[in-house]
Symmetry: C2
Subunit: 87 residues, 2 copies
């Protein structure tokens, strides 16, 4: 499934959330990641994010598209050269 993640977290937790996202998804904008995840990978990703965020302050959105559906991504302005690799 194609997944888009956008996070709005406290500065002190940005690095931790970024590190987890980079292990599963491609970095396409400051706090935006995208990529294809299996249901099992999505479950593990969600759990790891929930373990590190402060649920009373941080906010993470996970958009999941139906299997087989792909989103077209348009970049206006100073876009990034290319999505980063998953590390």
């Amino acid at each position: 499934m194609f997944v888009i993640v956008v996070y709005d977290t406290a500065v002190e937790r940005n690095g931790t959330v970024l590190k987890i996202c980079r292990q599963y998804l491609h970095h396409v904008q400051r706090s935006v990641f995208e990529g294809n995840l299996s249901p099992a990978q999505l479950l593990r990703f969600r759990r790891r994010i929930e373990d590190v965020i402060d649920r009373s302050y941080d906010h993470v959105l996970i958009y999941t598209l139906p299997p087989g559906a792909d989103a077209v991504r348009e970049s206006l302005g100073a876009g990034w050269a290319a999505p980063t690799d998953i590390i």
Copy 2:
């Protein structure tokens, strides 16, 4: 078509971009909007955004899903009560 917009713009332009987004889409996180747009609405929205951003600095991502496809949005942490109305 279901559209997700994420912007990363200079502080001085945030208000202008926010105002345009609120006329077309629902506000779901600080710099994230979503909603259904017709191709004509998307064209107008894109043009208005391009007119106000500094293309050398600001970055706006527009994800467009295939017609009829809907994304499931999950909110982890301090999510907003509900998406705002379009004004």
